[in-house]
């Protein structure tokens, strides 16, 4: 069976040939590393939105080429699709949302859609639970300025 699979795969190899695979940087700032390891040497800095060519994949790392240089990027920082701008949300988060979301939510709430830290301790929310959209609005109002974040990040080694 294996031989047949090999023969068939070889015969249809042309079908499986792929063109250049591009990856886009999604993280704000990314370091191109010499090895697939966080402890290796930084080869280059790449900013968000830049396009790189994928050469290889190894577990959680991509080997890519950028500006003539080769190196490794964590898979968390990249995606095959370019970054989209921030998605606007409904101006008012209230109970009268689209029916579909509500219907799906009632499904989800009975099957523990909420992910907790302790995997087993999932909270099972029943359909009769109260909701607090005021608190939600309060959370959404909280903003931190980019400058604040940059100052905050300054203490970390990777910046």
């Amino acid at each position: 069976m294996k031989k047949l699979a090999i023969a068939v795969t070889l015969a249809l190899a042309p079908f499986t040939a792929q063109a250049d695979d591009f990856l886009y940087i999604l993280s704000a700032k990314v370091h191109l590393l010499s090895e697939p390891s966080f402890e290796s040497v930084q080869v280059e800095n790449i900013t968000k939105g830049e396009k790189v060519v994928q050469i290889d994949k190894n577990n959680n790392w991509f080997k890519v080429e950028y500006n003539g240089k080769q190196g490794w990027l964590s898979r968390l920082s990249v995606s095959p699709h370019p970054p989209t701008k921030k998605t606007s949300r409904l101006a008012q988060a209230d109970e009268s949302l689209v029916n579909d979301s509500r219907r799906r939510a009632s499904v989800a709430s009975t099957t523990a859609a909420v992910r907790g830290l302790k995997g087993d301790g999932r909270e099972r929310l029943s359909a009769s639970i109260a909701t607090d959209y005021d608190a939600l609005a309060e959370i959404e109002r909280v903003t931190v300025r980019d400058q604040e974040v940059n100052n905050f990040m300054g203490e970390l080694p990777n910046s």
């Binding site: 069976m1 294996k2 699979a5 090999i6 068939v8 795969t9 249809l12 079908f15 499986t16 799906r104």
Partner: protein, 458 residues
């Protein structure tokens, strides 16, 4: 069991002309195209129908519930539903049935939703429910033949036959490991057939005595010369009409189960092998039949009709019917996200005294012209489960092998797919319509199904 409605005419009438006339009754109720002598009469499911039915190694959407339930573990985490509506048309011709003349033609057409299925992840595996119409025919025949070979004869037939078989039931499948999955569908099976035949024949016969000598209006024997002309021209040969009328109604109801056990194996990337085993097992099979007939003779009185002593016969009985164990196996190859190649083979336990198991095969391909459009092409066989006819035997079942092709086009949106397609099949074979003779008629069948189907994901 759908058997031809046969009368052994030799038992009743010595007159061969009359026998010929009555044999028309035989034709009227002959088995129709969608029958139990073939196993691939309807291709179930929108994607499989376009692929010629070669789906056992693919089976990764609701249609998979029918072919190989093990495949639905690949249906994804979404909740899917799919359904199919088909318009079936077919035409069968029996050539030169009567004395070198008269092709007998039987046609049928019908629209039926023939598949519906839902899959949903449940627990460690995937759950599904599906409904399939595995065989369906609605046929009508309303004809008058004024010019059958025996002079003066006239034959009218009204025939209606509605015969459908259904599967409905749940399925469940689990992944055994990365490469293997197993699934089971437990269908309930139902088959309902209702047929009614109304036949009338007017036979014109020369008036004769018990020794088959022509007699005149007074009952005197008319002497004939060797060339058949009358020696005494004043004696007139008389022709009388006799009227034969038969009305028959039958109803068959069968209920049982049809489990389908499926296995799916992916030995290497992009290659899958699938296998399934199924068999219909009846719990009850019930037949009800009512026949009424009357014959009027030249005196205007009624005789007992050819059926026997009963002018009215009512039959109600339970019967047995065996279905073959069916094994279906196939290979699918997924070289890219745009292309799929699939093949399948079926083996059926022998039936009807056939020594070898009947087999069928199919191949199919699916190609994505763009992310929104895909085309499918398929080819398949639909072999007869009856033995080949021998020119030395009598009372044989018809044997016709059919071959077909299929095509479909799908359009995809983010959450749904709409498919239109067609399945065509044709074949030539042999039939033995007349009981008690070795005469064989050639036959041809053409079938065309047009279908439209949709699938939806939440």
């Amino acid at each position: 069991m759908r058997k031809p409605y046969r009368i052994n005419s030799n038992q009743v009438f010595n007159d061969t002309r009359r026998a010929l006339g009555l044999t028309l009754f035989l034709l009227a109720s002959h088995g129709a195209v969608a029958d139990e002598y073939h196993y691939a009469n309807i291709l179930i499911g929108d994607r499989p129908a376009g692929l010629g039915g070669a789906y056992v190694a693919v089976a990764d959407d609701p249609a998979g519930l029918f072919y190989n339930p093990a495949g639905i573990v690949e249906a994804g985490r979404a909740n899917l539903s799919a359904s199919m509506n088909a318009y079936n048309m077919s035409r069968t011709e029996y050539k030169n049935v009567l004395g070198g003349k008269h092709d007998w033609i039987r046609t049928s057409a019908g629209l039926k939703p023939n598949f519906f299925g839902i899959t949903q992840p449940l627990g460690p595996g995937t759950f599904g429910i599906s409904y399939a119409v595995t065989d369906s025919i609605v046929e009508d025949q309303d004809q008058t033949f004024p010019d059958i070979p025996v002079a003066g004869n006239n034959f009218t037939i009204n025939y209606h036959n509605d015969d459908s078989s259904y599967n409905i039931g749940p399925s469940y499948a689990v992944r055994i490991n990365r490469h293997w999955s197993i699934g089971l569908t437990l269908y309930g099976f139902a088959r309902n057939r209702e047929a009614s035949i109304n036949q009338q024949a007017i036979l014109t016969d020369r008036r004769e005595d018990a020794n088959h000598n022509a007699i005149d209006k007074d009952g005197h024997v008319i002497a004939l010369n060797s060339d058949g002309s009358q020696t005494d021209p004043s004696q007139a040969i008389i022709y009388d009409n006799t009227y034969h009328w038969v009305n028959s109604y039958s109803q068959f109801d069968e209920y049982g189960i049809r489990p389908v056990l499926g296995l799916m194996w992916s030995p290497a990337e992009k290659v899958t092998l699938g296998a399934s085993l199924s068999q219909t097992m009846l719990a009850t099979a019930h037949r009800f039949q009512q026949d009424t007939c009357v014959t009027t003779d030249r005196n205007g009185t009624s005789e007992a009709c050819p059926l026997g002593q009963f002018a009215h016969q009512r039959l109600e009985e339970n019967y047995k019917r065996e279905f073959p164990l069916t094994a279906n196996g196939g290979i699918a190859y997924f070289p890219s996200a745009n292309l799929l190649l699939t093949s399948a083979v079926w083996l059926y336990e022998p039936q009807y005294g056939q020594r070898w198991p009947t087999w069928n095969a199919a191949v199919g391909t699916e190609y994505y012209v763009s992310p929104e459009y895909a085309v499918r092409l398929g080819m398949f066989t639909n072999h007869a489960s009856t033995p080949q006819l021998s020119s030395e035997m009598t009372d044989q079942l018809e044997h016709i092998d059919l071959y077909g092709g299929s095509f479909s086009l799908s359009h995809f949106t983010r959450t749904s797919a709409l498919t239109v397609g067609a399945v065509a099949s044709a074949g030539t074979g042999k039939a033995q319509i007349f009981e008690g003779t070795t005469a064989i008629q050639a036959m041809r069948t053409y079938g065309l199904t047009l279908f439209i189907s949709a699938s939806h994901t939440l």
